[in-house]
C-alpha cells in the first residue's frame, strides 16, 4: 500500500480498501522505522491523525453506496474507474493522502525552522498558500522535512538538525552491488530538499513540497529516484515560502510519478493575491493523456550539458532515452545553449546578492533567535546573526554584500544580470526554433557517499552539483526530473526535461512517456535487506 502512487492510493481510499486513519498510521509507523534517515525535523503525529479522521468522516458521508455502485458499473461496462468520483463529500483526489512539506514553508503553529538555529523555535501564525491549498483538499500533513540550512546547499548535509540519509543507502541494490555497510557508507540525498525526497522515496508520504532555487527539488529527486517538477516561475505562489532568491525561487513538487505531480500541480497553480509575482495558470485538462504521441514533438539535446565531470553512466542514460525518442518517431536534434558554462557563475553572484538582502530580516527583534547581548541594537543584531547562522549562510551573506558594494555593483551584480539575460535568451531561441522539450542529465552522477561528499566545502559542491539545474531557474522555465535507471552502484540516476514557460503539463506528459518505458524499479523491489528484527523488508512491505 505504501509504495503505490498517489492516484492508486486515492482510488484505494475511495473504494474502501483502506481507510484514511489506517493509511495515516501506516505512514507514521514507517516514519518511526526510518528515523535513521533523519528525513523529518518535525513529525505532526496528532495533527495528522486528526486530519485523517476528518477525511475518513468525509469519505463515509460521501455515501459508500454511490461509490460502490458507480465503480461496479464502471467495471461491468469495462470503463476505467475514475480516480475521483464527484459524488459525496470527499474533497478531491488528495483527500486523506499523507504529504510532507519542506521546513522552509510556513505552517500555522507548527515549528518552521529552515534547519537553522535562527528559527529553531519559530512557529508561524499562518500557512503558506501552497500548504493551505493542500490542506483545503483534505491532504494529511505528516511533518516538516529536513533540508540544508536556509536551502543553501546541494546535499542536505548542512542543516542544524543533521544530514539526511538517502533511503537507497539501505536498499539491497546498493549494499549488495558494492558491499557497502550502510552505517558508514550511506549516501547523501542531494539538496537542498533532501528530506522531502527521502520522505517520498522511503514511502512515508505520497507527495512532498520542496523549494527549487537552483535545482533544490530536482537534484535530490534524481538521487532518491522520485519525480520532481520545478514549475514555471510564478505559477505557484511563494507566499509563506521563506525566501532565498526572490527572482528564482519556486515551490517544487515531488511525487512517485509524473501523473501524481500533475494532479498536485493542478491544485496548487494559479494567481494568489498575496504573491504579486504569480501568473495565471494556463487552462488545460488536469489529467495527463494516457498515451502521449511523441511523433509530434521535437526533442533538443543541448550539447553544452555534457559538462566536465559527467559520469559515464549518466551519459549512457542520456543516450539511451534519446534513442527511445528517436525509435518512437520523435524528431531529435542537437542544439546549443552557448552560455551554459557561465550560468553557474552568474547564478552564484545573483544568489549571494539576493541572499544578503533576504537574510537581513533575521535580526532577533520580531521573531526567531535573539542573543542575550543587549549593549546596543547593532551588537544584538550582530551576535544574534553570529549565533543563528551557520558558516555557509554567513559566507553567502558576506560575499553578497561584497558584490553589492558601490564599487562592485556594476562590475559584478549588473554584469551577472546581463549574463542572466543571455542565458534566458539562449533558451528562448532554442524553443522558438521548433524544439518542444530539452533532454539533459539532472546531476553529474549518482549519489555520493557522505564521507566523500563532505571532503569538499558546501560552495564547491553546490557549484558542481547545480550545473545542469540552475540555468532553468535563471530563465524561470519549468523542468522535470525523472528517474530512469539504477547505476552500477545500485543508486538512482535521473534525467531532466526542460520546457518553455507555462507548458508544465506538456512537460509532465513527456515525462510520463519516459516513465512508462524506462522501467525504473521501485525501492521495495530493490530492497531485500534484513532489518534488526530479522524480517526481510520484502516480507515487511508486502504486509503493508
Amino acid at each position: 500500500m505504501l509504495s503505490l502512487t498517489l492516484r492508486e492510493v486515492s482510488l484505494a481510499l475511495r473504494e474502501g480498501r483502506i481507510s484514511p486513519t489506517e493509511l495515516c498510521r501506516k505512514c507514521l509507523n514507517r516514519i518511526k522505522k526510518t528515523q535513521h534517515l533523519n528525513a523529518y525535523i518535525t513529525v505532526t503525529e496528532e495533527l495528522a491523525l486528526k486530519q485523517a479522521q476528518e477525511a475518513e468522516t468525509r469519505l463515509l458521508q460521501g455515501a459508500d453506496m454511490c461509490v460502490c455502485i458507480s465503480s461496479i458499473l464502471c467495471r461491468v461496462i469495462g470503463v476505467t474507474v475514475p480516480s475521483f468520483l464527484p459524488l459525496g463529500a470527499p474533497k478531491g483526489p488528495l483527500d486523506g493522502i499523507p504529504f510532507a512539506v519542506k521546513d522552509n514553508f510556513c505552517t500555522e503553529n507548527i515549528k518552521t525552522t529552515c534547519a537553522s538555529k535562527m528559527l529553531k523555535d519559530y512557529a508561524p501564525p499562518y500557512n503558506a498558500t501552497v500548504v493551505q491549498k493542500l490542506l483545503d483538499q483534505g491532504a494529511v500533513l505528516m511533518g516538516k522535512t529536513n533540508m540544508d540550512e536556509f536551502a543553501m546547499g546541494s546535499g542536505s548535509t548542512d542543516g542544524a538538525f543533521g544530514p539526511v540519509r538517502n533511503p537507497w543507502s539501505y536498499a539491497a541494490s546498493y549494499t549488495e552491488k558494492t558491499g557497502a555497510v550502510p552505517e558508514s557508507d550511506w549516501v547523501v540525498c542531494g539538496g537542498s530538499s533532501g528530506g522531502s525526497a527521502a520522505a517520498v522515496a522511503s514511502l512515508t508520504s505520497y507527495l512532498a513540497l520542496g523549494s527549487d532555487t537552483g535545482g533544490s527539488t530536482r537534484n535530490p529527486a534524481a538521487l532518491c529516484g522520485v519525480v520532481a517538477l520545478k514549475p514555471t516561475y510564478g505559477l505557484l505562489s511563494r507566499h509563506g515560502l521563506i525566501p532565498l532568491v526572490n527572482s528564482m525561487d519556486v515551490p517544487g513538487i515531488m511525487a512517485r510519478s509524473a501523473s501524481d505531480a500533475a494532479i498536485v500541480l493542478g491544485i496548487l497553480q494559479g494567481l494568489d493575491m498575496r504573491d504579486s509575482t504569480t501568473v495565471a495558470a494556463p487552462s488545460s485538462p488536469t489529467e495527463l493523456p494516457e498515451h502521449f504521441d511523441v511523433k509530434n514533438i521535437c526533442v533538443g539535446i543541448p550539447k553544452e550539458y555534457h559538462a566536465p565531470g559527467l559520469s559515464e553512466e549518466t551519459l549512457m542514460q542520456w543516450s539511451r532515452v534519446t534513442d527511445m525518442f528517436e525509435r518512437a518517431g520523435a524528431r531529435v536534434e542537437q542544439v546549443s545553449l552557448p552560455h551554459t558554462q557561465h550560468s553557474i557563475v552568474c547564478y552564484r553572484v545573483l544568489c549571494h546578492a539576493e541572499v544578503a538582502s533576504n537574510m537581513a530580516r533575521f535580526d532577533g527583534l520580531e521573531y526567531g533567535l535573539r542573543s542575550k547581548v543587549d549593549s546596543s541594537t547593532e551588537a544584538m543584531y550582530a551576535s544574534t546573526r553570529h549565533e543563528g547562522f551557520n558558516d555557509v549562510v554567513r559566507g553567502r551573506i558576506l560575499s553578497g554584500n561584497y558584490f553589492m558594494l558601490k564599487q562592485n555593483y556594476q562590475h559584478y551584480f549588473v554584469k551577472a544580470q546581463k549574463v542572466r539575460r543571455l542565458i534566458a535568451d539562449d533558451f528562448k531561441h532554442v524553443f522558438s526554433s521548433g524544439v518542444d522539450v530539452l533532454l539533459t542529465p539532472t546531476t553529474l552522477s549518482d549519489a555520493t557517499r557522505y564521507s566523500d561528499f563532505t571532503q569538499e566545502d558546501n560552495q564547491t559542491r553546490s557549484t558542481q552539483e547545480d550545473v545542469f539545474t540552475q540555468p532553468v531557474n535563471m530563465a524561470g522555465l519549468p523542468a522535470v526530473s525523472v528517474p530512469t535507471a539504477l547505476s552500477r552502484r545500485g543508486l538512482p540516476i535521473g534525467l531532466q526535461l526542460i520546457g518553455p514557460a507555462l507548458q508544465d503539463k506538456k512537460l509532465l506528459s513527456v515525462a510520463q512517456w519516459i516513465e512508462q518505458r524506462v522501467g525504473f524499479p521501485s525501492i521495495r523491489d530493490s530492497s531485500e535487506s534484513r532489518n534488526e528484527t530479522g524480517v526481510t523488508k520484502r516480507e515487511q512491505t508486502s504486509a503493508v
Binding site: 550539447k303 551519459l315 559566507g395 561584497y402 524561470g476 547505476s487
Partner: protein, 197 residues
Amino acid sequence: MSAFNFSFTAGRTFRGVSQKLIQPSFKTFTKDRYSISNVGNFHRRRNSRLPTHITNVTRLFSTHTHNPKVPEAPTWEPVSEDQLPQPAQIPADLVDKLERLALVDFRTKQGLACLENAIRFADQLHVVDTSGVEPMDSVLEDRALYLREDAVQEGDCAEELLQLSKNTVEEYFVAPPGNIPLPKKEDRAAMLKHSEF
C-alpha cells in the same frame, strides 16, 4: 566503482577555477565494447580489476551504442586562470566594512578565504561579452503585475505577531539602545566569544 571514482575525482579538479585544464575524455568504449574511463592523468582501468558481478553489468551496459546526437565528451572546459584578471585583495578595512554592513562576522581566516574564492569564481563573468545587453531583473519583466483594489481585506493580527518576539512591551517590540556604533573589530571578537554559540 570506476564510475564513482570518475565522477568524484573529475569533480575535484572541476573547481570554480581549475588550476589546470581538464582533458576531454576520449571515446569511452573500446573496440571490445567494455566501457572504461580516462580523464586527464588517471590510469586506464582494466576490467580484470572489476568484481565479476560488476563486469556482468558492464557487459549489459556495453551493448548500448552511443547516440550520436548526445556529445560523448565534455563540450567545454572551465575558464583557466590566465583568462582572469588579478585576484582581488581584501584589505582589513574592507573586511571591517563588510562585517558592519552585513552585521555578520567572518569568524575565522577560512571565512575570508571563502570570500576570496567566491570573488575569484565571480571574476569568470568577465570573459563573457555583454556589450549591448540589458540587465535582467526578473523573468516576468514582459508582464504587468496585477494590482488589487486598495481596500483593507485582512490584518488586525498585532497580538499574534507580538507573540513571536522574545521581548515586547504592550504593542512594541523592545530593542536595545540604538545609535551606538558596533564595537571596534578587536572588541567585537570578545563580545561574540561571550555570546552563546
